[in-house]
């Protein structure tokens, strides 16, 4: 019995101690995880704030760069619009100001367009067409009208195969008169010069302007625009004048007188008047002789 009593086996499993240890370890891990989670969440929050700040700064900087590039391009394209730059800079601060600025610039553009259209209308009103009769052998597109011209272009197109030359008045830098010279489709010996605008200076050489002018209203029947004044000048006679200078003035004067005489003799009214005058003179002379 004693043996049994002395050799009693401890039948307890001591399970409670082990369970408590595991719980303690688990609790410490959980609290560590919670702490780490809190730390990482706080870090995330700070990083998000920094990211937002950096994005804002980046956008502001990008906007500034875009405006700078736009202003530079605008200055390069049209220097007179430089004055608009401050207004556009103000547009950065508020959208309302930007809207006003845009509308004002649109108004200015409209005014500019209206002014330009008005100028174009004025120029169109002052279009005149002059027919120059040349010799058939002459193939150049040069007409001597007393002004100095600078040729700036020549063109031939499929629908209009007759070549045409474009000139700009070179007498004065401020003069904006342009001239287009083209051979007439109906008569290749006739040069058609279309003038746009009015000269803002006197004719450089009076001799040139007088040489060979033969403004004959009864010229060949040519198509003409009702809005455009048409003049016909015979350049075949001007060839006789070798050099248009003051030295040749008597020759030019003689030529003018001849042309005036020829044109007057063609006028039946003038012939009748002349006949009456001569008859009257002869009658008076006969009366005095008697």
């Amino acid at each position: 019995m004693d043996q049994y009593s002395s050799s009693l086996v401890d039948t307890s499993l001591d399970l409670t101690i082990g369970i408590t240890r595991m719980r303690v370890e688990e609790d410490s891990t959980t609290s560590a995880l919670v702490d780490e989670l809190k730390r990482v969440n706080a870090e995330n929050k700070k990083l998000s704030e920094m990211l937002t700040l950096m994005c804002d700064n980046y956008n502001v900087l990008r906007k500034q760069l875009m405006e700078y590039v736009n202003n530079t391009e605008r200055d390069q394209v049209s220097p007179p619009k430089k004055r608009k730059s401050p207004a556009r800079d103000d547009a950065n601060s508020s959208a309302v100001v930007g809207g006003v600025s845009e509308s004002s610039s649109t108004d200015q553009d409209d005014q500019y367009l209206c002014k330009k259209q008005r100028e174009e209308t004025v120029v169109k009103e002052k279009v005149s067409r002059v027919y120059y009769k040349t010799e058939a052998s002459d193939t150049t597109l040069v007409v001597k009208d007393g002004y100095q011209w600078r040729k700036y272009g020549q063109k031939v197109t499929r629908d209009n195969p007759s070549p045409r030359a474009y000139f700009k008045c070179a007498c004065a830098p401020s003069c904006s008169v342009k001239k287009k010279v083209q051979r007439s489709v109906e008569d290749q010996s006739v040069l058609v010069a279309t003038y746009e605008g009015e000269h803002n200076h006197p004719m450089p050489s009076q001799i040139d302007s007088n040489s060979g002018l033969n403004r004959s209203p009864g010229a060949a029947n040519r198509s003409r625009s009702l809005a455009e004044p048409v003049t016909t000048i015979d350049l075949t006679e001007t060839k006789k004048v070798t050099s248009p200078s003051r030295v040749d003035f008597p020759e030019v004067q003689k030529l003018l007188v001849e042309q005036m005489a020829s044109s007057l003799t063609k006028d039946p009214n003038f012939t009748a008047a002349l006949a009456a005058a001569v008859t009257g003179k002869l009658y008076q002379q006969n009366q005095t002789d008697k």
Binding site: E26, T29, L37, L51, L61
Partner: protein, 41 residues
């Protein structure tokens, strides 16, 4: 408090991933910002 350790670990992994993404984005924005700043100078 009611979350278990495994749930906490899962949540922590999600936040780590989010953290990594934010850092990458921040790095990209910083690079772009300084490049732009350098270009403007």
């Amino acid at each position: 408090k009611d979350k278990s350790a495994s749930e906490l670990r899962e949540e922590l992994n999600r936040v780590y991933s989010e953290n990594k993404k934010i850092k990458e984005m921040l790095e990209t924005v910083c690079e772009k910002y300084y490049a732009l700043h350098h270009h403007l100078e």
